[in-house]
Symmetry: C2
Subunit: 479 residues, 2 copies
Amino acid sequence: MKRYERYAAEIAEMIDKGVLRPGERLPSVRHASTQRRISPATVFEAYYLLEARGLIHARARSGYYVSERLQSRAPQTSRPKQRSAAVAISDLVFDVLGSTRDRNVVPIGSAFPSAALSPLQTLARHLSHGMRALDPKRIVDDLPPGNERLRRQIARRYAIDEMRIDPAEIIVTNGALEALNLCLSAATRPGDTVAVESPTFYAALQALERLSLKAVEIATHPRDGIDLDALETALRRANVKACWLMPNFQNPLGSLMPDDKKQSLVALLAKHEVPLIEDDVYAELYFGPRRPLPAKAFDRKGLVMHCSSFSKCLAPGYRVGWAAAGQFSKQVERMKLMTTLSAAIPSQQALSGYLDQGGYDRHLRKLRRVLAAQRDVAMKQVAEYFPEGTRVTRPEGGYFLWVELPRHIDALELQRQAASRQISIAPGHLFSADGAYTNCIRLNYGHPDDQRIGGALRTIGKLAGDLGSGVSPKGARSA
Amino acid sequence: MKRYERYAAEIAEMIDKGVLRPGERLPSVRHASTQRRISPATVFEAYYLLEARGLIHARARSGYYVSERLQSRAPQTSRPKQRSAAVAISDLVFDVLGSTRDRNVVPIGSAFPSAALSPLQTLARHLSHGMRALDPKRIVDDLPPGNERLRRQIARRYAIDEMRIDPAEIIVTNGALEALNLCLSAATRPGDTVAVESPTFYAALQALERLSLKAVEIATHPRDGIDLDALETALRRANVKACWLMPNFQNPLGSLMPDDKKQSLVALLAKHEVPLIEDDVYAELYFGPRRPLPAKAFDRKGLVMHCSSFSKCLAPGYRVGWAAAGQFSKQVERMKLMTTLSAAIPSQQALSGYLDQGGYDRHLRKLRRVLAAQRDVAMKQVAEYFPEGTRVTRPEGGYFLWVELPRHIDALELQRQAASRQISIAPGHLFSADGAYTNCIRLNYGHPDDQRIGGALRTIGKLAGDLGSGVSPKGARSA
């Protein structure tokens, strides 16, 4: 990090913590320069950076001021119906996602960050090297639970945060999605009810639908996650057999459950003997001082089935994830063996080689910095372009903004209009089986290399404004 | 192929076709040399080769004679109970297979051929090259149905045999196992009955068990596959919802269904509107003059869900297979997207690069020659070492022998005794949910590079002989 970036980060933190409040004036450039013993140019660069991120703004002949905080316009805790119901959402998900596969589309609706953020060339070297060095006999040995060295490396990364996960508990899978699906299969029988956040990641809803499970959607706060009181009510009333949650940087809300709340969550579920399927794929993409712990860290009964992967933070397309499935480990391993046998050996070899070589943490630091800056840019653009009354989350990690548009705007119509302009967005309809969030959209800010994003957000904001004011896309009033 | 190998192959074919019969004398070396215009040394080398394969034998001062054909001691058509029943075999399969993972074990019970037979170094080159050359944006494009170039290449290989499979119908999967499981899910609901061969590959039984399906095991001939009359009876009586069959080189029998019989099979199933899940992973490992057609070649209604992979014939551990699922294609593609998203991109890139470069057919020709020779060696060893009354198949492709031991020998006990001597075998118990085949074993002859195989077959034969005569492994009579 350069000196001006460090100084900008300090100010951003003061704004974050409320030390500097909206409307307050920042120190003058001369004052800051003298006091901090840095050059005026450095102060200017820091202020420009903060301005670009929308955190401060200049007033003519007066200096820099802290901007109105977007967080004050964040969405409220969701209020789902909290009844257990069958899920039928898959067709809609496929319809909407199918239209965004064209590579000419601006990928704001995508679930993936830009692959250009990954060290693809370095990984490619490890692919070839790892497979050349491999004893042919090992190819069969790496059947589930997976490459032993890789499982030790994964366990070692948890150990840095003083989490003890036994490598023997870790099962390597085809990405986190397979891990989550296997865990869900292991913990439920058709007809069971599963508690999920509201809104929740559509893949969770699809998994429930595929396995003929019912969903009960639980109220969730956009900053600190699922409402434990609401969850407890559901546990008492709805005969919940499992939970599928994302305590860290939830998709789509971006919410981050504080560690003590995670501890309460795990205790609550332990009391009811209900397993937790924990989707933790964004944990490494934190913008705060350290990696948030997974709920698994507080698990004493082996009820937490922790799932993660390298797909979002390192190696898209390599399809390597894992499950640490506690008391369900043996069952998950067997199911893996029966359905897809093992994750690809070249992918496992390459990742193991890469992790060994030690570039991963450096890569992650850079990735977090890029995503944090891009979050600020995207929030500024939403504040600037989107209609009055829009609310937006301010996630502390990951790469999604959750945007609540004025109530009468239909996100599915917005998605269609955006698609006709070669822009994808993810309408709120995808994130609930209950027909909620019809005025919400999820925006992906994980493509900072895509020069078209700014213009696309402007277009979406304009389309939303027109929909809100009853103006049809061609400018004529709708009936 | 060298000249003596060519000559040996000609004689082997004459023996195969009955032109030369067991007990008949071969032409003298001088006679053959004059007639064929090849050197006596070449004739000798051909005869030595045939002798090593157990097809002919020398009698002192008399010349070479065609050996008693092992095929005359082949097992008969199986006679399963043909009733529809729930499946509970998975635990046994895991118990038995779990004990064979140690790499110090002689892998005669393995389901895989030796990885040393694969062009691993060449594939490793294509891994790195393919991923370096890849446009990062493509990484997301290769979600299901999979890498487009690879799907075209797969379709092109079918086109050589004048089979038209539309690349758009092909879905790339994590090996054939995932393809088969997805197809089975698409074609059935829990409680349905599925017809399988008897004996059948244990992975099929496990898949049925996992999805709460019932199996009806159909009589199957060790040479030409499932008995169509028996299948028709089951179709009429058992409310069969799908079939899972291996027309080409069935595992474990090695049976090869003649093409006209495949046509009748497909017509029969079409009449009953029953989909066929076709496991075709061994088709490229034929020893005859050309690749046998899949049942899919005769499909007019889109009822054949054809599954195959590169795992057995080219790239073990790369986990790349495919399904051409006919009218179920869209459903299979969606299920793939929901459960494991996609096959690993590096593996797909590497295979596509390798197929393009044109080394595949050369590799396959060599592999077939090696396996065919090894089949003969293994059959000779079984004939030599195994107890009187043993019957064995003579497969025309693949790498499994199915051995029927005298009736009172328990293959599970034999497996345990072999395991204690660091030798794995696959006991017949694994290949039926009905408790049949308790005196049968499947032997893998796909490890010609493993010098321990001969000695291990001798040990197994000895153990079987002792079990048959009531001698306990330590030489004392059992109670």
